[in-house]
Symmetry: C2
Subunit: 139 residues, 2 copies
DNA sequence: GATAATTAAATTGAGTACAATTAAATTGTA
DNA sequence: TACAATTTAATTGTACTCAATTTAATTATC
């Protein structure tokens, strides 16, 4: 038995997680290019399409991102006219992001994204469900 | 049935993959800090500890990274004295990375990393194995 | 009510990550 | 042998990602 067995790349769990995440994210490039969005911008829009109005803090929590990452992403989305930023009247510390009409309109185009990506992942529906559950167990 | 069901964050497979990968990578910060390595530098060292000598091209293939990512990482590891870079005599295009004595010595310290991280992932051995298989099916 | 502690964003700095391009070396082919 | 095509690294430019710090607003405590 090799003393260093635990240091072999093939025995790492984090590595395939990291590699698979990047691999699938790359599959989003083509469909998201049609919407002029990056992957990170896309998941912010997913949340906005569900909530219309949400604080930066809540976005951070939902997306497991910190303000250092989110601040420039929100800035870019505002520049594209997809959302508007405003301070809360009740608590001036809070930044509230609101979906604009242009942002809402983009939702229609986005319907093409999941089908385009789904075909690239060669897992059965059953396997995808299992993977999904295990990942949320980690989170 | 909601027309936009496929755009809900909870119905994405890539998102938990992306979030879980980053979440586990963060758990490496503390143990890797003791080795003065980043996660990316660590996985390069994992390969070097297995191979001693390897080309940049092979590293790219094994780690699913491209030269734009790897070049600065190899430069940093060389600066730390953990590896040496040299051009192949047979084919001057190839960059060969060789483990140094200091790099080899670091392997002992690295034995502490997997146990430190393993405790943070709350999956059973069985679940981890299932996850592992599904991830490699994607890759 | 003044002040300490906490909270939310923004900023800074280091390190990826990757598409696209460039430069140099090698290989294939007429 | 010339020369086109391919291959490998490095470079460039854009965009994350996060730790640590800063700033401003709010809450808790005296």
């Amino acid at each position: 038995m090799d003393k260093y067995e635990s240091l072999k790349l093939e025995n790492q769990l984090c590595f395939p997680l990291y590699a698979a995440a990047r691999s699938i994210m790359k599959e989003y490039n083509a469909p998201l290019g049609a919407l002029d969005l990056t992957y990170t911008q896309y998941i912010v829009m997913l949340v906005l399409w569900e909530h219309e109005r949400i604080t930066s803090k809540q976005l951070c929590t939902l997306l497991y991102l910190d303000s250092g990452t989110l601040t420039p992403v929100l800035k870019a989305l505002e520049k594209k006219g997809l959302l508007k930023k405003a301070r809360s009247k009740e608590d001036e510390r809070l930044l509230i992001c609101t979906l604009t009409d242009a942002g809402r309109a983009l939702k229609e185009k986005a319907l093409a994204v999941p089908p385009a990506v789904g075909q690239c992942v060669n897992l059965s529906a059953e396997e995808a469900r299992t993977l999904y559950k295990l990942l949320y167990k980690i989170l």
